[in-house]
């Protein structure tokens, strides 16, 4: 006799957890992007004079103002790339749930994720340099401020893995097409 549990779609706890984590991260990123955007707006308008005054008091060059602005713009761009990355990942997770992961669209998504990760890695390079310079200025002024951006080789490994996975999925999609056309 059929029961409610038998007719209900099978729920995969891993996929359910992945979806929840991704949605949470997307929400956090959107919030962070909004905060950084407000910060950029403030630095450019109402907070400009105050920040320039603080920079002058710390006897730091005026260039520090533009460095802070550039760093915030880099962070905003970085957050945007990570957000796009998570949207692509979410679509892949949804396709796995639908039982159709070996689709050419997923290969394209993985390749896009590879490019997004590469873009994020490239943005981290100037961000870490500006951050290190601002940290030196802050320490010299006796402030306990640290701007750190990690540039790890594991990120490069992730980028390579994504591009390779994109090829694996493209091959898998072609194999699936063959299998579907086999009688």
């Amino acid at each position: 006799m059929p029961t409610a549990t038998m007719s209900a779609p099978r729920r995969d706890p891993l996929l359910a957890a992945a979806k929840i984590v991704i949605v949470l991260l997307i929400a956090i990123l959107i919030f962070a992007m909004a905060m950084v955007a407000i910060g950029i707006g403030a630095i450019l308008t109402v907070g400009r004079a105050e920040l320039l005054a603080e920079i002058a008091v710390a006897e730091a060059p005026v260039l520090a103002y533009w460095a802070i602005l550039a760093l915030m713009l880099l962070i905003e761009s970085l957050l945007f790339l990570v957000l796009r990355f998570l949207f692509e990942l979410r679509r892949i997770v949804l396709s796995v749930e639908e039982g159709d992961p070996f689709h050419p669209a997923n290969a394209d998504r993985l390749a896009r994720m590879g490019w997004l990760a590469l873009g994020a890695w490239l943005l981290t390079l100037p961000a870490s340099m500006i951050g290190a310079w601002l940290t030196r200025l802050a320490i010299a002024a006796g402030e306990d401020l640290r701007f750190e951006a990690q540039v790890g080789e594991e990120s490069l490994l992730l980028i390579l893995t994504l591009f390779i996975l994109a090829r694996v999925f493209r091959h898998g999609a072609a194999m699936r097409d063959d299998l579907e056309g086999t009688v």
Binding site: D178, E180, G181, T182, V183
Partner: protein, 66 residues
């Protein structure tokens, strides 16, 4: 130049319907239709064997190359 599936001709000669053949070889009508209309990308040896057995023919009778 392509592989031609001559299932229609064989069925006509043997006065057999596609539905009847599908039941005999244990394939779905949809899959056999794909084969008949030449839309299949590959054919399993087991399918070929079952069709040849039921239609009393050789693989070469089923497939042609033009």
């Amino acid at each position: 130049m392509a592989i031609r599936v001559k299932l229609d001709d064989l069925l006509h000669e043997r006065r057999m319907t596609l539905t009847e053949l599908a039941e005999r070889v244990g394939l779905t009508l949809a899959n056999l239709s794909i084969l008949k209309t030449g839309k299949a990308r590959a054919i399993r040896f087991s399918t070929l064997e079952a069709i040849c057995r039921e239609l009393q023919c050789q693989p070469g009778d089923l497939l042609g190359y033009d």
